[in-house]
Symmetry: C2
Subunit: 330 residues, 2 copies
């Protein structure tokens, strides 16, 4: 059995690891449905298969990686507990996975994080520790924990076991839908995309990563040949604001065919179209993939495409399109 | 093989017919997922299993019954085509089923029906015929077709083959989730509820039907022992405004444990909670079941409950709760 600390280096992620991850996490995850829509097919002029990780436990694919990480811990590591820093989907996912396995979880949250996000983490049973916003406080917290605690840090994406867990979504998709011409995934820190890329590579299916123009650090990193820091967090795609890591970057460099950019407006239009046609809520980050399929017909028109809808954690009382109040009858 | 016209009478619906329906329609329908949410379990203080027919093709369970009806037609009947009167989910479902099977479909739509509903029917390939709103025009249209056309009328709910098709949703649910303490379904014309009741009866699982207070004609019918006409259409639950039929009423009288009522406000609160926690869109009619579980704890608290989410056809730019515009970054 592979242990948490013994996996590292650019060759650590391979199809075997993803296959094993799939078996390990199967009893705990939801095998999410693959949805289709003739309306969306008409808009994109392609045949689209949507892997609905927005319906995954805790509302995002992140539960796969978090569960896979915790299932690889030793009995002693489980007893000590784990921690992470996240105000988003990874925090909630790790909290839920820890609760299921009986592993104590601490999640450090910037004290300016939205209330709903904190509640989501607390509702899933984790201990919340408020820290100052920003990278410096985040790194100071991790350093303090590292030296003063036996707890293991579970990063949001930059570890082969996390990446392998995330790759199981694409693995389920290619098993459910044969003969795909491409796999298309959102691109933030690269955990989901690197796992997806490895699965695509194993089946000779080209893989595309989609990034907002306002958070194009991965696109810049591939141009530069080295990891570029994330830009200030201005994009509505709050799941895609992080930089690549030293584990995810080389996998993406090697196995991703192309990174494509979409605008904020394109994301919002795509998000509304996905809600209306698929009857599922996707968060802005997830809408990037449909936006890209519509924006780049020369790459995608007429093809059979697997799109990963990464998450659905949206506040339904705050939406990026105008909504009229439908009055009730009384 | 059973034919369309040869099935009638209160004993026509039985478990055999539903079992056969399940096999017949399996290649065409989506076996919809069963979702759970610890947040909703906490709110209701029960263990909830949501059968997501809102994710069914055309966004509602109606596709099951429509497909089952068309699969029972003779070759000659298929060639002549079919028609129905519907501005809602049944029209879109019949249109889509007809397109898949190559059967011409006409849908008569009241000329005041919302644009999105007409588009949904037309997008699924049916011919739309506009008629005046109201019961008189509807019945005149059906009478005219009956005498002047070879086309078969496919009613929205009042036929054993339709009811059997709708019952397959509950059949899938009880197979996927053993040991349910109750099945809970919305109640409009009674197609979904009668099929669900027959499945529940076969497994000794009590079945509840939920109706809006503002559309309580079925509740009144059970009190009176005879079918009461639907009230004026004031409820937000636009899928539940129809009267019971002579096929659905006796099945519901015999096999449904209880009909429970919920208010418009309770529906709207439940709808928002379902969207937020499950990450799927449900229409107001579907939210009745969760509203009822919260409203009647003396019946449902601490139980394992199967809830059927009947549909997700909502205009995402018109919602029954206040929504703030989330501004994009640009």
């Amino acid at each position: 059995m592979t242990g948490w600390q013994h996996i590292a280096g650019p060759d650590a992620l391979n199809l075997d690891l993803i296959n094993r991850a799939e078996k390990l996490i199967a009893p705990y995850i939801l095998q999410t449905p693959v949805l289709q829509s003739s309306v969306l097919d008409s808009i994109a002029n392609a045949q689209l298969f949507f892997k609905c990780e927005n319906l995954q436990r805790t509302g995002a694919f992140k539960f796969r990686g978090a569960m896979h990480a915790l299932l690889n811990l030793t009995a002693e590591q489980r007893k000590q507990g784990v921690y992470t820093v996240s105000s988003g989907n990874h925090g909630a996912a790790l909290a839920a996975a820890g609760r299921i396995l009986g592993i104590p979880v601490q999640v450090a949250v910037p004290n300016n994080a939205p209330r709903v996000k904190k509640e989501n983490i607390a509702n899933n049973g984790a201990e919340i520790i408020e820290i100052e916003p920003g990278m410096a406080a985040r790194e100071a917290f991790i350093e303090e924990k590292r030296t003063q605690s036996q707890r293991l840090f579970i990063p949001p994406y930059n570890h082969p076991l996390i990446m392998a867990g995330q790759g199981t979504a694409a693995l389920e998709l290619v098993k459910a839908v044969p003969d795909l011409d491409a796999l298309i995934s959102p691109l933030g820190g690269g955990g989901l995309l690197s796992g997806t890329a490895m699965v695509g590579h194993s089946q000779s299916i080209p893989v595309f990563g989609i990034e907002p123009e306002l958070a194009n650090d991965a696109w810049l990193s591939l141009q530069a040949g080295s990891i570029q820091r994330a830009r200030p967090p201005t994009s509505i795609c709050d799941g895609l604001l992080t930089s690549l890591g030293d584990h995810t970057f080389p996998v993406i460099q090697t196995y991703v065919k192309e990174v494509l950019l979409v605008s904020e407006n394109e994301v919002i239009i795509a998000m509304q179209q996905l809600w209306q046609a698929l009857k599922v809520m996707v968060e802005p980050s997830s809408a990037t993939v449909f936006a890209a399929v519509c924006k780049y017909p020369e790459r995608f028109q007429g093809k059979r495409l697997g799109l990963i809808l990464s998450g659905g954690n949206v506040d339904v009382s705050r939406l990026p399109w105008p909504v009229t109040l439908l009055e009730k009858a009384e």
